[in-house]
């Protein structure tokens, strides 16, 4: 059985978890096994039925009032009890911030190794292998596992969702006993910026600015553009972040975030190697830069040599026109 941890944030099932479940279902089919999902928390039963159409034969709901707020230690304990009972061969997570925090804690509890942030899963000789980027995508390794269960986290925005089918599976409720001292470092509250933006790792379109933006105020131009583009987020190069023009949460590159959106738009970004590492797995790349020699044009599918401050107003007009068609 392949078990996929499905994350709930703000009372919603996270899309990247459904991507992981979809991939789990594809590999489970190859291996002639079941794909099952697990939700951990409190009062989740209504959400469990939303997960069923994505290929889960069973959706386990592991509940305890002490799990209403996330803590890696508490959640790992809850998963550990379930894993002991149902004994999956493979456990998958989304490589979201929660998945990256939780999966290694569970792996240590189980005494098994973990492959992080995988971008492909493969069945070879009846066993699961994974491909994962190293050096933020400057190279890739294929890994096979010598410990069982196999554990991996899967990068968001890489694995396609399966077409939701009928809700054929069942929801299985599990109450777990968790001693209070097992809850370590619980989340007290979630602090969100005003106008809660989509994270660059989850956005379908990333509109990024670099040194060519010239100052913090000009990032408003990019925010304006994202307001015209669905599921989009503002990104930035390291030089823009280091200059203090925008928070490091937005940084794309080797010391920032690695993104693979449908569309990456680079304004005034020269294309330093550490930046290219973080975004060259994007499906389409578009760049606007004054310098025709800029490295960014070597990876761009469509490039405009020009002044971004002159191009952006026209882009806004064109996007508005397109939206009204």
């Amino acid at each position: 059985m392949i078990l996929v941890f499905v994350e709930v944030r703000d009372g919603k099932v996270k899309k990247s978890s459904l991507e992981a479940l979809s991939e789990g279902k594809r590999r489970a089919d190859d291996l002639k096994q079941e794909a099952n999902a697990v939700l951990v928390g409190h009062n989740l039963e209504s959400l469990a039925t939303e997960v069923l159409p994505y290929g889960a034969s069973k959706v386990y709901v592991v509940e305890n009032s002490l799990l209403s707020n996330y803590s890696a230690a508490g959640f790992a304990q809850a998963l550990f009890s379930l894993v002991g009972e149902i004994k999956p061969e493979v456990i998958l997570f989304s490589a979201s911030s929660m998945g990256k925090d939780l999966a290694p804690r569970l792996a240590a509890k189980l005494g098994v190794s973990l492959a992080s942030d995988c971008t492909r899963t493969i069945v070879k000789d009846g066993k699961l292998e994974v491909l994962r980027p190293i050096f933020a995508g400057k190279a890739f390794v294929t890994l096979s596992f010598k410990s069982s269960p196999i554990m991996a986290t899967l990068r968001p925005n890489v694995f396609p969702l399966i077409d939701p089918g009928e809700k054929k599976g069942e929801v299985v409720k599990k109450e777990v006993v968790i001693p209070e001292d097992k809850i370590k470092a619980p989340v007290l509250e979630i602090l969100r910026e005003e106008g809660a933006e989509i994270d660059v790792t989850e956005a379908e379109i990333v509109v990024s600015g670099g040194r060519g933006m010239k100052g913090p105020e000009n990032f408003d131009l990019l925010r304006d553009l994202t307001s015209l583009l669905p599921h989009s987020a503002v990104g930035a190069s390291r030089s823009a972040v280091d200059a203090g023009w925008i928070d490091h949460q937005h940084q794309v590159g080797q010391t920032g975030k690695t993104v693979s959106p449908n569309l990456y738009v680079a304004f005034g970004i020269s294309g330093a190697i550490q930046h290219l590492a973080g975004m060259s797995s994007s499906k389409f790349i578009v760049a606007v830069n004054k310098d025709p020699e800029a490295s960014i044009f070597k990876v761009a599918d469509f490039g405009v040599v020009g002044d971004l401050f002159q191009v952006i107003p026209h882009l806004k007009e064109e996007l508005k026109k397109l939206a009204s068609e």
Binding site: Q251, D301, F302, P313
Partner: protein, 260 residues
């Protein structure tokens, strides 16, 4: 407040990564190695806590003797002591192996700590596994990807970065913390610091000192292949009046790429 900081030597982020396809490893020749930038935030935070409340900052690296350079840097920044735990195994990409080594080192040689600091990941392996695994093995609270940290006595609160937001977390000491960019602005080494660091010895430990057998820490992941990413083809580049360029760009995105 005694803090142990774990640091790693990595190729700087401007490096081009080349692969030796025969051995399936990274070619190190010609690479410029530096202290992992996230570890630098961890060292800085440890120094600030010591400056505010006293105690000791110990820095430990697991690796070959090439890692002495980054340990010297940590001493020059102001760490009280540094140790090298010798491990000549090439990168295994197995966080569990490293967590086991670190836990044994803590139990045998560095058991007197209040906080364990890491970078949120090493640049290169990009695993982000070891801090959580160490915390689990030692039964400690973990807070990863920290951008703000406050310690009061035996209690702490931290902000941890998640998608588009921050989690505010409370915990008790001892605890495991991993540092994210934004936590602080690391200091530069001073000339005085560099001179002091030169005089300090960096003791070296071996697996034997920790009574660790190779089989206890055999990697449980196997790298079966290492490859470069598929090269990206450069596309069309146009140089036209802004209005025409914007129009063509939107047409391309809508009609050819079909992404908007």
């Amino acid at each position: 407040m005694n803090i142990v900081v774990f640091v790693k030597r990595i190729p700087d982020t401007e490096s081009k990564i080349r692969i030796n396809h025969e051995t399936g490893t990274i070619i190190e020749e010609g690479l410029n190695f530096v202290l992992n930038p996230y570890d630098e935030f961890a060292v800085e935070e440890a120094l600030r806590l010591r400056e505010a409340g006293g105690g000791k900052v110990t820095v430990l690296s697991v690796g070959g003797e090439e890692s002495l350079v980054i340990l010297k840097k940590c001493l020059a920044m102001g760490a009280d002591e540094a140790f090298l735990l010798k491990d000549n195994t090439p990168e295994t990409y197995d966080g569990l192996r490293m967590a086991k080594i670190i836990v044994r080192a803590l139990e045998k040689k560095f058991s007197d700590y209040n906080l364990l600091f890491f970078g949120k990941q090493s640049v290169g392996a990009d695993n982000a596994q070891v801090p959580s695994m160490v915390a689990e093995f030692l039964g400690l609270p973990q807070v990863n990807v920290v951008t703000k940290l406050e310690i009061e006595g035996t209690k702490g609160t931290a902000h941890r970065e998640i998608e588009g937001a921050l989690e505010k977390v409370s915990f008790s000491l001892p605890a495991v913390i991993s540092a994210q960019k934004g936590l602080n602005e690391p200091r530069y080494e001073t000339l005085k610091g560099i001179m002091m660091a030169k005089k300090k010895e960096i003791p070296m430990l071996t697996f034997e000192d920790l009574e660790l057998n190779e089989e206890d820490i055999a990697p449980l992941l196997e790298v079966t292949k290492m490859e470069s990413p598929p090269p990206r083809q450069a596309g069309k580049v146009i140089q036209e009046e802004p209005e025409a360029a914007a129009k063509k760009m939107v047409e391309y995105l809508h009609n050819e790429a079909k992404v908007i």
